[in-house]
């Protein structure tokens, strides 16, 4: 049982560089993510968001600094065993194209050595949990699904081995707005219901503001700011202020453009 006093994930002065010239993808980042927290990571392309996520899953090792999961240095853990306890939703799903929906979801518990009968039961439960239709979707293959359905399967796969931590890399990025809205709200419900710790990368500031307990802003490999939506919206840092001012400015422009529209009454 993890120590409840420890943060779920902790980055301590973590640096990671990919090129020999010394340009860092992640430079001296320190950040603690509390148990049960929903943290979004925002920032421009190449700011180091994905690198941070890969470091947390021990898909890569830091050059300097320490990454801790539930207080334990990941270097001391068996990476394969550790990854099985974490759920990951990859960019654009990355479902295994040669496996059916059921097999994609069942892969994580199966790898962890869960009994076949229990795996089947979990697949059924997760298909329901991510609001897919068991009868229609169970035996289908990824190429037979819509984008939204694929992302639901990806979430199901991440949750199938009952992780306490879920890492998501732009999980809803490629979806149409309606699907995106529905899926993200469904996910937040799961996050709360299953008492997960979630770290989500997103490009969408609005999405980050709406879903997150806390937001981390990455800029050129460094952690530029971290705080609740309200704290960041009032930041004096020019980059952060610019970033979080965007949705409000868009709303103002939309209101001017469409004077008759009243936001936020449907649903």
């Amino acid at each position: 049982m993890p120590d409840p006093t420890q943060p779920a994930i902790a980055f301590e002065n973590v640096t990671k560089s990919f090129d020999r010239a010394g340009g860092s993808a992640v430079a001296d980042v320190s950040l603690a993510i509390r148990r049960g927290e929903f943290l979004s990571i925002v920032g421009g392309s190449g700011a180091g968001k994905t690198t941070l996520l890969r470091l947390a899953a021990r898909l890569i090792a830091p050059d300097r600094g320490t990454v801790r999961i539930d207080g334990a240095d990941v270097r001391a853990l068996d990476p394969v065993a550790m990854r099985r306890t974490i759920g990951i939703v990859f960019q654009s799903g990355a479902l295994f194209p040669h496996m059916s929906v059921a097999d994609n979801i069942g892969i994580t518990p199966r790898l962890a050595g869960v009994r076949a009968a229990e795996v089947t039961a979990r697949i059924d439960r997760l298909i329901e949990l991510v609001r897919l239709d068991g009868r229609r979707h169970r035996a289908r293959f990824p190429h037979e699904l819509s984008g939204g359905e694929r992302q639901r399967v990806a979430v199901g796969r991440a949750l199938a081995n009952t992780p306490s931590i879920v890492l998501m890399d732009e999980p809803f990025g490629a979806l149409d707005p309606l699907t995106r809205d529905a899926l993200s709200e469904d996910y937040v419900a799961l996050h709360r219901g299953l008492e997960l710790t979630t770290v989500m990368i997103t490009h969408d500031i609005t999405e980050a503001l709406l879903l997150s307990d806390r937001i981390a802003v990455m800029q050129a490999g460094r952690l530029a700011a971290a705080g609740t939506p309200a704290e960041l919206a009032g930041s004096v840092d020019p980059y952060v202020a610019e970033l979080f001012g965007t949705p409000l400015r868009q709303i103002a422009r939309l209101a001017a453009l469409l004077p008759g529209a009243t936001p936020g009454v449907q649903r």
Binding site: A57, V80, F90, A94, P97
Partner: protein, 521 residues
């Protein structure tokens, strides 16, 4: 309309040829894949090993199939001798083994390249996802990488299958029965029905195997059980056919060998008929290379075949001085005995190399003997594929001081017509070939006796040395085939009509032998 008897004969041979062809091809393919697949997996992340591996495989691919197959015979002969000396075990370097090894080597490139390419082509995101869900290296390979690369790997296997089945037709000269037997014997005896039949059979077989593999590949990709099952059943059926003991496979009995020219096919058929008439089983191994066949006889892979005294004397035993006819045979018997081979009898005719040219042209140039040729250095000469590499040619050239403008190698059966048409001036033909008379060619005298006598002799392998049954079966042939009869037989066999198959000519020849025996009594 009646069926061409050659087609009937071809069909009769089909189970044996097809079965052998399939057996050698599938074994080679399985072996090739079994070697190249793990090699590809091991080398794909090591750039140097990968470059070397693909380089070597590519080079092997550029070696002509016939040469690759031919090289494996002496290689294995050497290995077998070495194994005998060091470990006391020997294996047959003849037929199946060298063919399988050479073809397996030939099949490696497409499997290697496609396995590496297929694995390289996988979306890196999926590899990351496989790591992310907690797969070990091995699990990643078996659960994600291999299934995703499978279509490309299968495509490589299909290419390899088509290549191997095609190239297996070239394994005839090293003693492996295959569909190539039709092509080789058809080409030698101008039996175009055989040639076409062999080509068509090999092509159809290649298409069928390719189709079955395609079916499996589609089944795997489309997750279609039905296709997968159908393809697998087809392959299984082929493998069953290959392994089924009921099918005519290397039947026991005597193995009769033949070299690669018309007379040899006819004589092998004649020997086989006689042995079968004596109530024994026979297997024919036709189209064997000159050097392969004697080694195969010594090793016991061939039991009996007809060779020529001069050929053995100069080529096999490397003598340079040439005794007269009877002395040569006597000396040859001793040499053969030392090699464990028995000279079972002389057929009665001689098939000598003879320089020949069109009568009119010889008269016009005043050429009567080989010595006269030296006065005309601007002429061209054609010989069979081995003549100019044989010691007889060197002896002839040195004895008379011959100089030709060019030396051409030719399919033996086409030489005579080429000389008659004036495409070449002189040919090194065979004195027993009826085409010499047919095209009105004259053979040139050899006053310095540079060319040895070439009496046709029956040779027996070491283990058949004391085999009285075999000797009794062949005894009626000894001394009964004169040169005129053999010429006519060769002419019949080269006629290219329905009655020109070696079997039919052999039956005709046997009829003549019996007539002669009856006339003498």
């Amino acid at each position: 309309m009646t069926l061409d008897p050659r087609l009937g004969e071809a069909l009769q041979l089909l189970p044996d040829y097809l079965g052998s062809h399939l057996r050698v091809s599938l074994t080679a393919l399985a072996l090739g894949a079994a070697i190249s697949f793990p090699l590809a997996l091991a080398a794909r992340r090591r750039p140097l090993a990968r470059a070397i591996l693909l380089g070597v495989a590519s080079v092997v691919q550029t070696v002509p199939g016939l040469a690759l197959l031919a090289l494996f015979y002496p290689l294995l002969l050497f290995a077998s001798a070495l194994a005998m000396r060091t470990a006391g075990v020997s294996f047959s370097a003849f037929g199946f083994l060298p063919a399988v090894l050479a073809l397996a080597l030939y099949s490696m490139l497409p499997v290697l390249r496609n396995t590496i390419t297929g694995l390289d082509g996988i979306d890196p995101q999926l590899i990351e996802a496989a790591r992310g869900v907690g797969m070990t290296r091995r699990q990643r390979l078996t659960m994600v990488e291999l299934p995703l690369a499978l279509p490309v790997i299968m495509a490589g296997l299909r290419t390899a299958a088509v290549w191997v089945i095609g190239t297996a037709t070239l394994s005839t000269p090293i003693g492996q029965t295959s569909l190539g037997n039709y092509i080789f014997s058809g080409l030698q005896t101008q039996n175009w029905v055989f040639v076409l039949f062999g080509c068509a059979a090999a092509a159809i077989l290649a298409l069928v195997v390719d189709g079955l593999l395609a079916l499996i590949a589609h089944g795997l990709r489309r997750h279609s059980r039905a296709r997968l099952l159908l393809g697998a059943c087809g392959c299984l059926a082929l493998i069953t056919v290959v392994l089924a003991p009921a099918l005519p496979r290397p039947h026991g009995g005597y193995v009769v060998g033949a070299k690669t020219f018309t007379e040899q096919y006819v004589l092998a058929a004649l020997l086989a008929d006689r042995i079968e008439a004596g109530g024994h089983g026979v297997t024919l191994r036709e189209g064997l290379g000159s050097s392969v066949i004697f080694a195969a006889l010594r090793a016991g892979d061939v039991d009996v075949y007809v060779d020529y005294s001069g050929t053995l004397w100069t080529n096999t035993f490397h003598h340079r001085e040439i005794p007269e006819r009877a002395a040569l045979i006597a000396a040859l018997k001793d040499e053969l005995k030392a090699a464990g081979v028995t000279l079972g009898g002389e057929l009665g005719f001689e098939n000598a190399y003879a320089l020949a040219m069109p009568r009119q042209r010889a008269d016009a140039l005043g050429i009567r003997s080989i010595a006269d040729l030296a006065r005309h250095p601007g002429l061209t000469i054609a010989g069979d594929y081995e003549f100019f590499a044989r010691p007889e040619w060197a002896a002839l050239r040195d004895a008379y001081g011959l100089a030709f403008r060019s030396l051409r190698q030719m399919q033996p059966d086409f030489m005579y017509a080429a000389a008659a048409a004036g495409e070449v001036d002189v040919i090194a033909g065979y004195s027993s070939d009826g085409q010499i008379a047919q095209y009105d060619l004259v053979t040139l005298d050899d006053p310095r006796a540079a060319i040895p006598p070439y009496d046709a002799v029956v040779l027996l392998s070491p283990r058949r040395a004391g085999d009285q049954a075999l000797r009794a079966a062949l005894a009626p042939l000894n001394g009964r085939i004169d040169i005129e009869t053999m010429r006519e037989a060769n002419l019949r066999a080269a006629r290219g009509d329905a009655d020109s198959s070696p079997g039919a000519v052999a039956r005709w020849l046997w009829g003549r032998v019996r007539e002669k025996a009856a006339a003498r009594q």
